[in-house]
Assembly symmetry: C2
Homo-oligomer: 153 residues x 2
């Protein structure tokens, strides 16, 4: 029996189906995650990318915009206005590095540091909504990180 070979059934056609696309799975899951965080972050007066910036700063205060960008895979076109809004909100300061005037160092204010306490409960809420245990979530995290690392090198 001859295999059908209409355009509808070629391998490359199968690969173009939306639900076979890894890129769309990641895209839609990431947007869904952002929506899940929305009400939790609204309480803190933060957007999702601003929260990511704070995660970095809570680990290491006083980083340059470029270092923040390397950590978050974002460029100055995204970070500069974002950090200005966070400065206006009183969460960070932006000061030129005295030893290298090209660099702008981002530092947490007391308010910015204090937000960490209120953020501590967020990961638990997210894990619950994800309906998976810690080990499962970490395993998936590592797989997705590995993929990202392959794509960014």
């Amino acid at each position: 029996m001859a295999t059908r070979n209409t355009p509808r059934n070629t391998l490359s056609e199968q690969a173009l189906l939306l639900d076979n696309q890894l890129c769309f799975a990641l895209y839609s899951a990431s947007l869904a995650m952002t929506k899940l965080y929305k009400p939790l972050l609204d309480e803190l007066g933060l957007t999702y990318p601003q929260y990511l910036a704070l995660l970095v700063l809570w680990e290491q205060d006083g980083v340059a915009v470029s270092e923040l960008g390397e950590r978050l895979y974002l460029d100055s076109g995204t970070l500069t206005p974002l950090l200005k809004r966070m400065e206006t909100a009183g969460l960070v300061t932006r000061l030129r590095d005295a030893t290298d005037e090209r660099r702008v160092l981002i530092r947490l204010t007391a308010d910015g540091r204090a937000l960490k306490t209120r953020a501590l409960r967020i990961p638990g809420c997210v894990l619950e909504a994800s309906q998976c245990d810690v080990a499962e979530a970490l395993a998936l995290t590592h797989q997705v990180q590995t993929l990202r690392n392959r794509l960014t090198t």
Copy 2:
């Protein structure tokens, strides 16, 4: 020996580390994917979300904006201007449904249909850059889809 219990080492502190966050893994992997597609889609004159819309339309032509939104998890605030740009580019038409004037049906033009042929090579390019075989990619796709489905219900 007593375990240390400084703030730096609590479980909730660990959970706030950027590299332990599933949300950031998905976010950064999704952005990396978009950048990988950029040069491939530039050749076709498409943006990444426009490409996603075409994936839907190549599977099923003549869908309403709301149906496209359900499929892509996007709302009319995103899709209306995106589809207008695709209409301007001559890829789709936007016409009110005669049987329900609230609905706007999106149909491919000949140009929009023709783009599919040129898009067929894209999934292979992406898979190569991802450095994983088809089975591996599909397995990860299903895991991420499962997570997304949990988050969107």
